[in-house]
Subunit: 239 residues, 2 copies
């Protein structure tokens, strides 16, 4: 099946968690908003988003079109892809556990975003710099260590090299992206935090070396981090 | 099966979305942290949360124990209960659509929480009042209308009385709770917003009249809203 991924064309953002899963399982997909031509670009995405002819309109990007299915919400897309492509256990317990981990990553991502946008996502960073500094101070002192420490603990108890045990899941790919993003956004703070996260760092490195992921990261399909995405580098915030 | 729900004992919070689902399907459950005795109270919850003997430790409450399963994350618990108790369609498309709606509600709930805690969840409201006012102004002007307008639109296109069509799902119960909470937290602003939300308000009323929900709301099992939960009433924020 040829999947259609719909996401903003110039950022990694939440779409990146889906891209990593699609790349790892070698799925064929079109990154629709990055395509030119009549059926591509942001307009093609907005048509589906606002579409009154669609019975299940997604609230926001990313969303995935798989045949007739239009699937919204990052973690939901991964739940779907995980079951189809062996990126999650088949049994109920394993499936729910993987999804719980992913939903915790989703929560973490919201908090990362809000470090630079604590007041309003519709305002510029420059209009909430003071508040961003306050929020980021708490994030780096309390929230990031809490989340990352949790994943470190899960890895210590999993009984395998991956979060859910002996086999890679989409949650591992997403945790890789978290490490990548935090290293970009908060290089100094992350360097300090990583000292207490040997298992998380090792997982990151293992993901980066997987042949399909390594090929993807080296390709033009991987958009560079920038200051329009979730993970943004503002030196003044890197406490 | 006797379920064990683990959540903070004095607030509705995120646990309430699970309680509503358990009540609607007539499930037997113990609200563990609200019980006294050796096996109850917050300590019983913390034992499982921090437990090194648990293979799948939840990140935070609420979590549900179902036999040997320990399921974390509100939306994940509802995914599980929905499949077991007919609170979601059985087919893949309907299951994913219901879950996408729930995950959008989860996102909304984070934004509700952050109206009174935009800087740090570990600080008191009183320490971030100025920022709370700024964030709430944006929330009431932009974010709440966007989310609520989305659900109004989904109801208009669903082809039935409920979000997913002709049958009630857990997402309807959660949307009911959103309306209840917003009416408590922002009575003036919500009154204005509801003028444009006839379908959402009608859904709220239909849920409130369901026999098991009505009995639950009238019982002592329903904790009253208060200023430790997600939905808090601070008059100065109700723009």
């Amino acid at each position: 099946m040829l999947y259609e991924l719909y996401y903003w064309p110039t950022i990694q953002g939440r779409g990146e968690f889906v891209r990593l899963a699609l790349e790892e399982c070698g799925a064929k997909y079109v990154d629709v908003a990055r395509k030119s031509g009549k059926k591509g670009g942001v307009p093609a995405m907005m048509t589906l988003l606002g579409g009154k002819r669609i019975k299940c309109p997604p609230f926001a990007p990313p969303f995935l079109k798989a045949g007739k299915l239009v699937i919204g919400q990052t973690a939901n897309i991964l739940l779907f892809l995980g079951a189809r492509h062996g990126l999650a256990p088949r049994n109920e317990a394993g499936r729910l556990w993987t999804h719980a981990l992913q939903l915790t990553i989703v929560d973490f991502v919201v908090e990362v975003h809000d470090t630079h946008h604590p007041i309003a996502s519709g305002l510029y960073y420059e209009d909430q710099r003071r508040e961003a500094k306050l929020r980021t101070t708490d994030f780096l002192k309390n929230r990031a260590p809490k989340y990352l420490g949790y994943f470190e603990r899960v890895l210590g108890q999993s009984g395998g090299a991956w979060l859910v045990g002996g086999r890679l899941t989409y949650a591992d790919l997403s945790l890789f992206q978290i490490v990548e993003g935090l290293r970009y956004a908060f290089p100094k703070a992350m360097k300090r935090m990583e000292r207490k996260l040997p298992r998380v760092v090792a997982l990151h490195d293992r993901v980066a070396k997987r042949p399909r992921i390594a090929a993807y990261l080296a390709s033009e399909r991987r958009i560079a981090f920038n200051e329009q995405g979730i993970f943004r580098q503002y030196e003044e915030l890197d406490g």
